[in-house]
């Protein structure tokens, strides 16, 4: 079975229709695609208009490759896998992240996508700044950066 991965960090719109078509494999009866989109509020911040994402760019793709490798170890049934993240300024409704996998049956696809997006959000060096009508600040609910298979080191 074709086991290709599509892993990308980009400033342009995420080509999710292409991703969806690309992950389909003859041996896979399930495709799961998760998209994270820009929301117009965040806890008590109303009227969020834009998110600006920044990244420690050279290490985003390697970090997503590690997640892909671990996902394939946990779910060897995965056919194709795609992790795409966007950086720069995005407006409400735009897609910031896309995770897609194909597997022979649905349970593995759903589980693998859920695990992958949860892991991506805690192990990939990306930050978002929320911009609303009368202010801007870094995203709420940020998570201390974790290492896959390593607890990392705190700063002091």
């Amino acid at each position: 079975m074709d086991k290709a991965d599509w892993i990308e960090l980009t400033e342009g719109p995420l080509p999710v229709a292409e991703v969806l078509a690309w992950v389909v494999r003859p041996g896979c009866g399930a495709v799961d695609l998760f998209c994270g989109t820009v929301r117009d509020h965040s806890e008590d911040r109303r009227g969020v208009e834009m998110l600006e994402y920044e990244a420690y760019e050279p290490f985003v793709v390697p970090s997503m490759k590690e997640i892909a490798h671990e996902a394939r170890r946990r779910w060897p049934e995965i056919g194709r896998l795609a992790f795409l993240h966007r950086i720069g300024v995005l407006t409400v409704g735009e897609i910031a992240v896309a995770v897609a996998v194909s597997t022979p049956h649905r349970a593995e696809a759903l589980d693998a996508v859920r695990w992958s997006i949860d892991t991506l959000k805690t192990t990939v060096p990306i930050w978002k700044r929320e911009i609303w009508k009368d202010g801007a600040d870094w995203g709420l609910g940020a998570t201390e950066l974790s290492e896959l298979g390593d607890v990392g080191l705190s700063g002091t």
């Binding site: 959000k121 192990t123 870094w138 201390e144 080191l153």
Partner: protein, 78 residues
């Protein structure tokens, strides 16, 4: 001496994207950033991870001018 990069809230707190900071190991460089960048940065630092050239660093790891230390606050991708 090493180049230190600051991301997200750490960049705001330090008031800089990057700086050349004195020190012969990661721990010394990080300690020097606390002195140099003030209280707001010092408060954020314990929540940050510190990487050396793209990998998690230990405080005793030696550094030189070619090395890149990154201060990575809690992440919020996705």
């Amino acid at each position: 001496m090493a180049t230190v990069l600051f991301f997200g809230p750490a960049r705001d707190a330090a008031g800089a994207r990057s700086a050349i900071v004195e020190g012969t190991c990661v721990g010394e460089v990080v300690a020097a950033t606390v002195t140099r960048f003030g209280e707001q940065f010092a408060q954020l630092l314990p929540t940050c991870r510190v990487w050396l050239n793209g990998d998690p660093a230990t405080p005793d790891a030696p550094v030189g001018i070619e090395d890149e230390i990154a201060v990575l606050p809690p992440v919020s991708g996705g």
